[in-house]
Amino acid sequence: MIPSLEIFELTTADDPSNLNTTAPIVVCDSLGSEYVLSLFSRSKIQHIIQKSNLNHQSEIQISATMLQSPDQFRQFPLSTILGVHNPTSDSEAQLAEVNHQLSHPDEKSLVLDQIEKWVAESNHQRSIANDVRLIADELISNSIFNAPYVDFENSFSGPTRDKNKISIDPAKKPRVFIGRDHDRLIVGCQDFYGTLNVNRVIERIRICYESNPGQVMNFGTGGAGIGSFMVFDSCSSLYIAVEVGVSTTICCALPLKMSAVRRKKIPKNLHISSEESKWKQK
């Protein structure tokens, strides 16, 4: 059952770059990545769902949960995305086929190797294993190199990418997890800082599509600045939930049982749950 929430259905007659609606959910079809990002950046639409993505009804349900019970999504991201009714810690643990908490930056490459091996052993295409590794890599990097060190405006990237110069607070170990159903594989990462500025990150990805990632790249210290673009470009649905100062949860869905070409053609869903986006909306 979908709780009563206003849903705006975008038609070909609407100009996605200049949409005037207060609905938190927009349902559309075959909208290009740049426009999807633009709907959030410019119109502050938090949930953009494409009919020709995998199952748009279940995506509407996820949107409803993220809007009405954001704590549920933050606590049980895999259960929420994979459609478990009344999720619990047990359901979340059962779904997490891969689940790591990182205690030290050195563990990143070991965890990534394990993830890649796990995907490869699951008889998925090599390109899936590579995309999953890339997404996990970029999300973990964000959680250990950026999240603890950036301000809420994300006015600068994390100070260094040298794992020997940073440490992980034992009380705030980031968690990387993977779950799946028959149709999709979910890769996620959660940090306990809640410092991701979603407006900034989405706008940055949008600019990568509008111009070129090579022009957006940071050649100075900190991150390269294109990791978020690479993550979004590699998945079919991106879910971001930020509780400012508390946690950031990012999940990506990758469709299974289809060729790399078909995966690439799937129009992308975007789900954002952030107090910050609400502030900007007001």
């Binding site: 390109s127 990418r161 090579g214 390269a224 990791g227 470009d233 070409v261």
Partner: protein, 164 residues
Amino acid sequence: MEAKVISTLQDLNLNVSIKGQITAESDLPTLQQMPIEKLVFNVEGIEYINSGGVRKWILWMEQAKSLFPQATFRFEGVPSVLIKQAATIQNFLPPGSSIDSFTVPYFCESCSTSCEKTFRKGQDFKLPVDRQAFIKILTSATCPTCKGPLEIDAIPEHYVLSIN
């Protein structure tokens, strides 16, 4: 696997073989100025690259280009992970450089076999490639195990953009 780079000088040709993963932590060696006419990068063994690796790679290529401005840059055995970046990110491969050969991954949906095929310039394709014909060549392959049709496990358009 960490990146491993082996360079060998033969007459006026510098051959650079790179294997493993390219990340922000990869140790891509500083090249030395010397009289070089041709740089040949064999990159077949590169398995993975992330955002930090892309930045490292571009800076390394820029350094090589500034050290050897007159030399031709050629790439052999370019894997799909690099083809994707070359098609997406401006100047990932230095302007004027050429791809002499590349590998394409395939997957058999019937028997889950994964395999790769190498395409060589002059032998399997000629420049400039005709988009439609080239994509047809890339996407037509037979599974070595069950003899069924193989599915290309990459984006054919990326090859068109990179090669041309």
